[in-house]
């Protein structure tokens, strides 16, 4: 029961911040995909970089564990590209469309209904996909520092530098 309450509270704060950051709207999502407005990329990468530093500190202190998804190139690449196609058509992500509905953008209802149907289609095809696409390029649960064989803080530092350079570029170009 506690777990459910934590989930709800985390979701409420997340939804609140997404709405305040103006990142859940169709115009912002498509703005990023049309390379006109990088608001969602700024929001997303700032949160990734902050959480990356925090979570790796917690991990090094033995307080938290990583929970990695396996790298299966077939699934990640083919699925990722298919997701991108749907994302550009819908203009919302699975999580953010609930936020879009929360700020009155009720066309998100069509996306939610589409997702329920799409999830059903995926479930029907799962056995087939598991035997095919999901067998291609299975590398297991790996991180970038493991793949490169270097300390994770080197990679974290590199990402922070890349992120700051990217943000500076966006601000310079007024994106």
């Amino acid at each position: 029961m506690n777990e459910l309450i934590y989930g709800l509270v985390t979701g409420i704060i997340f939804g609140f911040l997404l709405q305040k950051g103006r990142v859940i709207r169709y115009d912002k999502q498509l703005g990023a995909l049309r390379l006109l407005d990088m608001t969602i990329v700024k929001f997303m990468f700032t949160s990734i970089l902050v959480a990356m530093v925090g979570v790796y500190i917690l991990k090094d202190l033995g307080i938290a564990k990583l929970s990695l998804k396996a790298t299966v190139l077939g699934g990640n690449i083919v699925g990722g590209l298919i997701f991108g196609i749907g994302w550009a058509l819908l203009g919302y992500c699975p999580g953010t469309q609930l936020g879009a509905l929360g700020e009155g953008r009720w066309d998100a209802v069509w996306g939610i209904l589409g997702m329920l149907v799409g999830a059903g289609i995926f479930a029907e095809m799962y056995s087939f996909l598991k035997r095919t696409v999901l067998q291609w390029g299975d590398f297991g649960k790996i991180t970038i520092p493991q793949a490169l064989g270097i300390n994770h803080w080197i990679v974290v530092a590199a990402f922070v530098i890349i992120g700051i350079l990217m943000f500076r570029f966006f601000e310079k170009k007024g994106l």
């Binding site: 990142v23 703005g31 917690l58 990583l66 999580g95 066309d107 996306g111 997702m115 970038i144």
Partner: protein, 175 residues
């Protein structure tokens, strides 16, 4: 591109930073990394169970992702509530069935938007489940842990999305 005023939103870096802290807190206190797309699978499982409980019970994917109310389910519902609170308290809640950018390009027709959004939703969730995550599970949680799967998927989300957004808005205003 016009910026449409500041719309009383928060700076995306500030909202992103606070979201990063939220992600760290979630991992610290509950060990949970955010995600959203599995919830649609579980929801579909619930709905299908009403009609054919036995079949759902025997399907491989619903055995893997058992239809149940879990942390993530409440997290996704929380996003709706959080966005509702943020938008109504800042007077940015607006009932809208056709996004502004969409309307400029494709006109005010609600049916056209509904059909494309529905298809987009179905395609997006299929891709997300094949990739084993969406911009929350791979984009945020995967990337912040430096998971290879997170970055491969995230890049593919954007590649698919940018290509389709370009096709949709080709010759339109902007660029």
């Amino acid at each position: 591109m016009e910026q449409k005023g500041n719309d009383k939103g928060w700076n995306p870096y500030v909202a992103g930073f606070l979201t990063g802290l939220l992600l760290i807190a979630s991992v610290w206190f509950t060990g949970k990394y955010v995600g959203a797309s599995t919830t649609f699978v579980r929801s579909t499982g619930f709905i299908e169970k009403v009609f054919e409980a036995e079949r759902v019970g025997s399907m491989e994917y619903f055995k893997k992702e058992v239809p149940k109310i879990d942390w993530q389910f409440l997290f996704v519902i929380g996003i709706f509530i959080g966005s509702l609170i943020a938008s109504t308290t800042s007077k940015t809640f607006r009932l809208q069935g056709v996004p502004d950018m969409w309307q400029e390009r494709f006109g005010p027709g609600k049916a056209k938007r509904a059909i494309v959004a529905f298809i987009g939703g179905a395609v997006a969730i299929f891709g997300a489940r094949l990739a084993d995550g969406c911009p929350s599970g791979h984009g945020l949680s995967g990337s912040l842990q430096l998971a290879v799967s997170g970055y491969v998927s995230l890049i593919c989300f954007f590649v698919g999305g940018i290509v389709v957004a370009r096709i949709l808005y080709k010759g339109g205003e902007g660029r």
